[in-house]
């Protein structure tokens, strides 16, 4: 039952409990969203809007606290919206949070599961790794980032994985390797039943190519451009196995062997110029305000 007075008609306050930088370009936010916290399952996402002028952006739900009615989000500071998020303080609020959206990850006992997370992709892979472990899988984690300070959730991943391989491109922490190299070694050493890979598109494509010859089931989670997140706009359409699918209501996870990654890359670049302009103007205003 919803608590009486929980909603002011037409408006719900999503109070921020925690907002902190966990790396130079990644923030962690814990925010009140009781409906989302109540219904969310691993693999699902929300749409959020920072303020009245804001864009709606999708973000994976990394964790929930049902009792507190809060959700945990990790966001990479890549554009105006996420930059604004990084400036919000505990006690402040987000204008809108809608979700959970998308199909949950199909959690069952596959046997040995390798969870590969690259960059910010470690945030969505973490709850999936935890859920797969709970279901009795032997979970091996592979996480990577360009350099040590960009690596997130290493400790948390360590807690839910039987084994965790940490890679950095520059060797500043863990192994100097790409996640694909670590995955290749694991695949050579033992039988892998499922791979879940979340990260930059080139990484997900590379992992999918790597597992294709042996036919290991490979799930990827796509970060398509979305407006509503409920099937209405079709902006998130991707080609999977030659068919048009909507990331929001058919995904966000798809069989990596069937996704047309080239097309996804192209569509992700649709607003590159506008995003740059938006960020530039935002920075100008911020700097103007300081002087």
């Amino acid at each position: 039952m919803r608590r009486a007075g929980q909603y002011i008609t037409g408006y719900t306050v999503h109070r921020i409990r925690v907002n902190e930088k966990i790396s130079p370009n990644v923030g962690k936010m814990i925010v009140e969203a009781p409906d989302v916290a109540r219904y969310r399952k691993p693999g699902q996402f929300i749409m959020l809007r920072v303020d009245e002028y804001g864009e709606r952006i999708p973000l994976t739900i990394a964790d929930v606290d049902g009792e507190q009615g809060t959700i945990t989000l990790y966001y990479q500071i890549v554009g105006k919206t996420t930059e604004q998020m990084s400036r919000l303080e505990a006690g402040g609020s987000l204008k809108d949070v809608a979700g959970p959206l998308g199909h949950p990850t199909e959690i069952r006992n596959y046997g040995t599961a390798v969870c590969v997370g690259g960059g910010i992709g470690v945030a969505p892979i973490y709850p999936i790794a935890a859920a797969l472990g709970k279901e009795g899988n032997r979970v091996i984690g592979v996480i990577g980032a360009r350099t040590k300070e960009l690596l997130i959730l290493e400790r948390e991943m360590g807690q839910v994985c039987e084994r965790l391989v940490v890679c950095t491109d520059d060797g500043s922490h863990g192994r100097k390797a790409f996640v694909t190299e670590a995955l290749a070694e694991i695949m050579a050493a033992e039988k892998v039943d499922i791979v879940v890979a979340i990260g930059p598109v080139p990484m997900m494509r590379a992992v999918s190519e790597q597992t294709r010859p042996s036919g290991i089931k490979t799930l990827v989670s796509l970060n398509s451009v979305m407006v509503d997140g409920t099937g209405m706009c079709g902006g998130c359409r991707v080609t999977v196995n030659g068919e048009k699918r909507f990331t929001c209501v058919d995904g966000p996870e798809f069989d990596g062997h069937q996704v047309n990654f080239d097309e996804l890359m192209t569509r992700l670049n649709t607003y590159r110029d506008e995003e740059a302009l938006s960020m530039r103007e935002h920075r100008c205003r911020l700097e103007g305000g300081r002087s």
Binding site: D35, Y39, E55, V227, G231, M232, G234, E263, T266, T270
Partner: protein, 465 residues
């Protein structure tokens, strides 16, 4: 014999001016013009116009009140059966409903029923004089309304007036459904929608935004958690595409996405508002309905130099309102009729640069009774376009059907509901609007919302299904 009064035109922003702004195009009648137009009504004893109205407004009744200068009485008459007259006066296809059946149509021009309806509604809204009449009697029963579009708003309003406790769940951050995300400001000012939503709130309807029922809780859970009935009015939420090569290039939009960015997200004010939209020099819109016209006219206002509207049949078969077609043409939209796209052509970066089309001719009638367009062999040609907008309709959104066991669907995935009671196959669950009919009109959705409210009242009072 007195001189015959011609149908009174409504003043409009001139085309050259209005394509540079987003303000409403028709400006409304003055009191005098409205009374003059109302005086044209013959006050038929057996008014055929009413038969053409899906919500059976007492048309001669409200027009007589306008004629007599009692404008508040006229809106009171309208609101007995139509809870959103300011909307309907603007977006209903009157020429194929009430006005088509007006006796004067045979003699020349019908009474401008839609424009008079708009006048009455605007008069009241601008003065905020009409008190909202909720039933003094509170009735036992809580109703959940899913979706805040025309069907949901109407059902919620009627139920609240009957004395029920109503909660509307809306997936977006703003209430109004297609009235806010789909229909542009220049055709339906958003302040009007907000006024209607506020009126619901004043009636005591609780409106919960950002709540995607089907994903955040299910119909079953609502029924288990204290709601006695559920009305599903979630609309036609899944855009159809042409399924031709190149449709996923950058710059190809569904009309839903294009209009939602422009309207709901205010991309026309980018970068003041954060949501971007592709602004091309040359635009190709595919489709012949109101949504296609809205998209084409929006593209002009976003600064496009050339806007082509590609439609596979001829002008006579266009499903859009006559007024929308007329406005689009006045504003300079280039009509490519009897034309069908076969391929979107991109550049090396994956951006749209042209649409390859073929010319069509009309053959034998198809199932819809309209003559089927067939390809003219060897007629391929290309239209340069950096943005294309596909406006060929919507399928039903899967979120509610997928999560509501036992809810009967038809072969297209629309919810099956009784035509009169809007009852579905699930006890206590009613549905209406586009989720039942497939893409239709605002007024039909409202009619369904109204019928459902009455049926819900009966169900809650008798307990009989």
């Amino acid at each position: 014999m007195k001189e015959k009064i011609p149908r009174q035109p409504m003043p409009e922003q001139p085309p050259a001016e209005r394509v540079r702004n987003f303000k409403e195009v028709p400006l409304g009648y003055s009191d005098e013009t409205a009374r003059l137009e109302a005086s044209r009504c013959l006050q038929c004893k057996r008014p055929t116009c009413v038969d053409g109205c899906p919500v059976r407004i007492d048309i001669p009744g409200f027009i007589k009140a306008i004629r007599d200068g009692d404008f508040l009485e006229s809106i009171r008459v309208i609101k007995l059966t139509n809870s959103l007259p300011a909307v309907c006066g603007r977006v209903c296809p009157q020429e194929e409903q009430c006005e088509q059946l007006c006796v004067l149509t045979k003699k020349g021009e019908s009474v401008a029923i839609g424009k008079l309806e708009r006048f009455a509604a605007d008069y009241e809204r601008e003065r905020e004089q009409l008190e909202i009449r909720a039933s003094a009697e509170r009735k036992n029963g809580r109703v959940a309304v899913l979706g805040s579009g025309p069907a949901g708003l109407t059902a919620a309003g009627e139920l609240a007036k009957l004395g029920y406790r109503v909660t509307v769940f809306e997936a977006f951050h703003s209430a109004g459904g297609v009235l806010v995300y789909g229909i542009p400001e220049f055709r339906l000012p958003k302040a009007i929608v907000q006024y209607e939503v506020d009126a619901l709130a004043k009636l005591g309807v609780e409106i919960v935004l950002n709540r995607v029922v089907g994903s955040a809780g299910t119909v079953n859970e609502l029924l288990a958690e204290g709601y006695d009935a559920v009305f599903i009015g979630t609309g036609a939420g899944l855009p159809l595409f042409l399924e031709i090569p190149g449709e996923n290039l950058q710059g190809v939009y569904s009309a839903n996405e294009y209009l939602t960015r422009a309207n709901l997200m205010k991309a026309y004010k980018f970068p003041e508002y954060d949501t971007p939209i592709a602004r091309g020099d040359s635009i190709a819109v595919v489709g012949g309905g109101n949504v296609a016209m809205d998209s084409a006219r929006m593209a002009l206002r976003l600064g496009s130099k050339k806007v082509h509207l590609i439609y596979r049949r001829s002008r006579a078969e266009m499903p859009a309102r006559v007024e929308e077609v007329h406005h689009a043409e006045e504003e300079g939209v280039i009509f490519q009729l009897l034309t069908n796209p076969v391929r979107f052509i991109g550049d090396e970066k994956g951006r749209l640069k042209a649409v390859e089309c073929v010319r069509m001719e009309l053959g034998e009638p198809d199932d819809s009774g309209r003559r089927r367009p067939v390809v003219v062999k060897g007629s391929e040609f290309t239209i340069d376009a950096d943005v294309a907008i596909v406006a060929i309709g919507n399928g039903p959104n899967p979120l509610i059907p997928r999560t509501t066991p036992g809810l009967a669907l038809n072969k297209w995935g629309n919810i099956v509901a009784d035509e009169e009671s809007m009852k579905t196959s699930r006890k206590g669950v009613f549905a209406g609007g586009d989720i039942v009919t497939g893409a239709a009109t605002v007024i039909l959705a409202m009619g369904a919302g109204r019928k459902a409210a009455l049926a819900i009242d009966t169900y809650l009072q008798t307990g009989e299904w």
